[in-house]
Amino acid sequence: MRRWNFALAAVTAASLLGAVGAFAEADKSIEGIEKYREALKDGNPAELFEASGEELWKKPAGPKNVSLEKCDLGLGAGVVAGAYAQLPRYFKDTDKVQDAESRVLTCMSTLQGVDVSKYVKAKWKSPERDDLNAIATYISGMSKDKPVKVSLAHPKEQAMYNLGKRMFYYQGGPHDFSCSTCHGQEGVRIRLQELPNIPTPKGAASGWTSWPAYRVSSGQMWGMQWRLADCFRQQRFPEPIYGSDVTIALSMFMAATANGAIMATPGIKR
């Protein structure tokens, strides 16, 4: 059933993408992209990744041969439903603010006894990162339709938010770009890609609530870690280390600014 959906979706996406290229006017292409998003709603290929993420979550693995099911994502050991909508958050055991992806690494290490450094060092298109993307997709799907509810009550949460806000405006590199260059104004685009104005609640919501997302153009499933890494690449910055504080801080800034918006995860993108 799922496979069938996927095949259908892929065909629809391909034909509509072709149509996008043929459109005569800029605004029509944007409309076209909206249309294929609409068409894919019943069969987002992200479902496949959700399913394999769930499998990875429940399968005993690692030197200790246990599953991740007892992982505490912030709502207590073993609670997945609703957890993504409240991340990033402060965790007492690590004394750190963590997002879903860095938290999964913690659980792989503590519960399963896995040496996670190879996951941190891995390339984007590697089996290690594929697994992490799938697990994040599964976790995020369990928060679909829940309102974003990120806390800034703990001083470390507040600090992460402040750091993220500051990072958002930090310029560097040969192009002098910061996140704000591309995501700091209302209603602008790069080529035909519309850019959310992230410091506003509406822009933060559109940036935050639909990731992890399946990217039709590349056929890949991207978590927020990958999304951010690719924006830093376009920014001509070095690569953010997987799960590093810069990535958590920016996520905290976006998520807290999006508070109250409804999670639409996993999403589907161009």
Binding site: A159, K165, R166, D176, F177, T181, G184, V188, S244
Partner: protein, 209 residues
């Protein structure tokens, strides 16, 4: 010249003197922020860690209030003067190259990312932010439309110099412009700037049809 840089650096370092400066809040003080930035990245290809180090313009413009706040006007003027001084005018005095080649430079957004190769030809990224030739419908809107750019301006030395200067170092005209400093930062070559100039100003260019 050296002196100006020193003065700029000193002012940037003592940034809190500005009434307009953003207080980033608890936990995001300079030391904590720097520690985060310096522990969070790894070098990939030509995207080296040194790209995290800012020059005076970048440091100043990383406070969003500096872009337009009245209290920062003097500092903006200084930054603009400093950037103006970096502009290298065409070595042979000729401002205009080949608009057809210019169109290619404007189209290409390649270059200087962690996945680009050293030695490859960089693009100008222009269509990412500007409408330019009427034939290209896939253009961005971070910058103003440049359609009919030459047609709309007097055909004189001032237009040539302004346009060259803008492309070479946009921060000479607007301290915290979102536009990259193509020539100053070595993103594009003198010859590529000439070709872009022709794209914008040559009466034969589709931009001016």
């Amino acid at each position: 010249m050296k002196k100006t840089i020193l003065i700029l650096a000193a002012i940037a370092a003592s940034a809190p003197a500005f009434a307009a400066d953003t207080n980033w809040g608890k936990g995001a003080e300079d030391a904590a922020f720097k520690a985060m930035v310096h522990s969070s990245f790894r070098e990939v290809g030509m995207a080296t860690l040194s790209r995290l180090d800012q020059d005076a313009t970048q440091a100043f413009c990383s406070d969003p209030k500096h872009a337009d706040d009245k209290d920062a006007a003097k500092m903006r003027a200084k930054i603009e003067a400093e950037n103006m001084a970096t502009i290298k005018w065409p070595s042979d005095g000729k401002f205009l190259g080949d608009w057809k080649k210019g169109e290619k430079v404007a189209q290409s957004g390649r270059g200087l990312t962690s996945t680009d190769k050293p030695g490859q030809v960089n693009g100008g990224n222009c269509y990412n932010c500007h409408q330019i030739s009427p034939k290209e419908i896939s253009y961005g809107t971070i910058g103003p439309s440049l359609l009919h750019y030459g047609k709309l301006r007097p055909n004189n030395e001032e237009t040539l110099k302004y346009t060259w200067g803008r492309i070479y170092n946009a921060k000479a005209y607007n301290a915290c412009s979102n536009m990259p400093r193509g020539g100053h930062m070595g993103i594009i070559t003198e010859e590529q700037i000439k070709d872009l100039m022709a794209l914008l100003l040559d009466p034969q260019s589709p931009v001016n049809q």
